[in-house]
Symmetry: C2
C-alpha cells in the first residue's frame, strides 16, 4: 500500500492523527521536498514518526519513483507531501503509475495554501484561477500570469499567486562540468513578486492592476510565526514579511466583511523597508 | 484564547496532532455543526479528546457566540469546524468579534472540500469560482449559479458545486405553532444537483453546459468509503454514490493527465439506477 500523506503547512505536528498512525505503520517513508518546504528540519519528523525519512528531491521524483512504487507492492510505504498532495502541486501522475502497477493508494488529505489562504479573510469562493510567479532572469521573464489575472479581475475575483521555489537547481558551473552541484535553495518574497507584477503591468499596459491595487502577503501560513499583511501593490514592493514560504493575493471586488479583515491585517509604516533593505529572495536550507 | 480548529473531512482522527493537543488543553469545546457534518458521531470526538463537546447549531452560532467569546477571554476554548474554518464557510465574523473583545484567536488549518476536491484528479489551479447549489422548492428555484458557471466555462475552468445541507430547519408546523421542532437533517445528492442543473440549462438555454458535459461526483471525501465517479451530466442524474456529503464538479477544459484521472474514475453501468430508485436527498442524523 502507498500512503500519500499531506503534512499540512506548519510543523511536524500538522500531520493528522490518521496520517501519523499510517506513517508509523509504514516500512519506508519518503518526503517530497522540491515543490514546497515544511517549517521544520527532517529530524523532527523522524523523531515524531520513529522512522527514518528519505528525502525525495526532484531527481528522485523524476527517476526513483518506480523503485518506490515497487516497494509499495510488497510493503507499506508513505510518501509525504508538504501541504496536500493534490492541491498546489498535483501528484496525479504518481497515482496513475501506482494504479498501473496494481499498487493500492490511500490519500490522507491536509490543508494546503490553496485553502489556507482563506485565513487572510478573503472568501475562498471569490477566488478565480491560481497562478504561479517564477523568478525573472535576464533572459526569461514570462508574463502569461498577466492574462490569468486579467480573466479573474474581469469577474471581480481574487487571484492567489504561488511564488517560486528553487530547490536542487544545478549551478551553472555544475552544468558546464557535468557535476552534481546545486545552487542554495531560494524562495521568492512578496516584495519581488510585487516588483515583477509592476514591471509586467508597465510593459502590457492594460490596466489589469496598478500601484494602488490592494494585495495581501501571507507568509508561513499555519506556522507559529504566520504573518498576514494587506497593502497596495506599490507598498508591497517594500514589505518584509520574514522568511519563506510566501504567497500573495491580488484582491478583487470585496464584501464588507472582507474589507474588515483586510483592515485588521493592514500593514503599518514600520512594515515597509527602504528599497535597498528589502530581501528579494530568501536563501534557506530546510 | 480561542482555538478555531479545522477537523478535516473524515473521522475524528482527521484532526491534526497540533489540533488535538490544543483541544485537550481547552476548558470548553464547541462543535460547529450546521454548515457541514463529520462522518462520525459526537461521542467519538469526546472519547478522543477526553472532553465534553457542546454542539453549536445554527441557533447557537447566531445567538450564543458572544457567550463563548466571553469564556475565551477567561480560559482556553476550542471551536471545532468540519473541514477548515475559513474555506467552504468563512468564520471571519467570529474572528472579528473575538478581536473586538480583545480575545486572542489561533487558527489550526485542515483540509477542506475546497482543496480536497483535487483528489479527483482535476488540477486545483484550473478551478474558477465555487458555487453553492440549494434545494429547489415549489416556489424558490434560484439559478444565479448558472452565471458563475458560465463565467468559469468561458475561461475553460472547472466549477466546484457545493451541495445544500439542511440541518436544524424549523418544520412548517413548528413555525406555525411557535415550537422548537426541526425537520430531519437532509443533504443534497449529486443526482439531484444534476437534475437541477439540467432544468436551469433548459430554462436559460445559453448552452453553458449540456447533457453530455463531463462532471465528477465526489462523496464522503477523506472518509474510508470515499467515492469518486466521473460521467456525463445526463448520466449523473441516475448515479447513486451513497450517503452524504456529496460535492460535484462541472469539468472545464482538461489536460491529458486530468483525462487519465477522469477515465480511472469513470462510472460503470452498475453505478446508474433507474429513475425511481435514485435518492434525491439523504436523511441522516449524525
Amino acid at each position: 500500500m502507498l500512503y500519500v500523506v499531506g503534512l499540512g503547512l506548519g510543523d511536524e505536528k500538522d500531520i493528522t492523527v490518521n496520517g501519523l498512525e499510517a506513517v508509523k505503520r509504514c516500512d519506508k517513508v519518503y518526503l517530497e521536498a522540491y515543490t514546497s518546504i515544511l517549517g521544520v528540519p527532517k529530524d523532527r519528523l523522524e523523531a515524531l514518526y520513529g522512522r527514518e525519512v528519505t528525502v525525495a528531491d526532484r531527481q528522485f521524483v523524476e527517476q526513483g519513483i518506480d523503485g518506490m512504487l515497487n516497494e509499495a507492492l510488497e510493503m507499506d510505504v508513505a510518501f509525504l507531501v508538504v501541504g496536500d498532495a493534490f492541491a498546489a502541486t498535483t501528484h496525479s501522475d504518481l497515482v496513475l503509475r501506482a494504479r498501473g502497477l496494481g499498487c493500492k493508494v490511500k490519500h490522507i488529505y491536509n490543508a494546503s495554501i490553496m485553502n489556507a489562504v482563506a485565513g487572510c479573510g478573503l472568501q475562498l469562493y471569490r477566488f478565480g484561477q491560481a497562478v504561479s510567479i517564477v523568478f525573472f532572469t535576464q533572459t526569461w521573464r514570462p508574463d502569461s500570469f498577466y492574462d490569468r489575472i486579467k480573466e479573474n479581475a474581469a469577474l471581480g475575483l481574487h487571484t492567489l499567486l504561488l511564488l517560486d521555489i528553487r530547490v536542487k537547481e544545478p549551478s551553472v558551473e555544475a552544468l558546464c562540468r557535468g557535476k552534481n552541484e546545486y545552487e542554495p535553495p531560494r524562495f521568492m518574497s512578496c516584495a519581488t513578486c510585487a516588483r515583477q507584477l509592476m514591471e509586467v503591468e508597465e510593459l502590457r499596459g492594460e490596466g489589469v492592476y496598478g500601484p494602488d491595487s490592494m494585495c495581501v502577503a501571507v507568509a508561513r501560513m499555519g506556522q507559529d510565526d504566520e504573518v498576514i499583511k494587506s497593502c497596495t501593490l506599490k507598498e508591497m514592493c517594500n514589505v518584509d514579511v520574514g522568511g519563506p514560504l510566501h504567497s500573495m493575493v491580488l484582491v478583487g471586488d470585496t464584501h464588507p466583511l472582507e474589507d474588515d479583515m483586510l483592515l485588521m491585517h493592514r500593514a503599518k509604516e514600520s512594515d515597509f523597508l527602504p528599497d535597498d533593505e528589502v530581501p528579494s529572495q530568501y536563501l534557506e536550507d530546510l
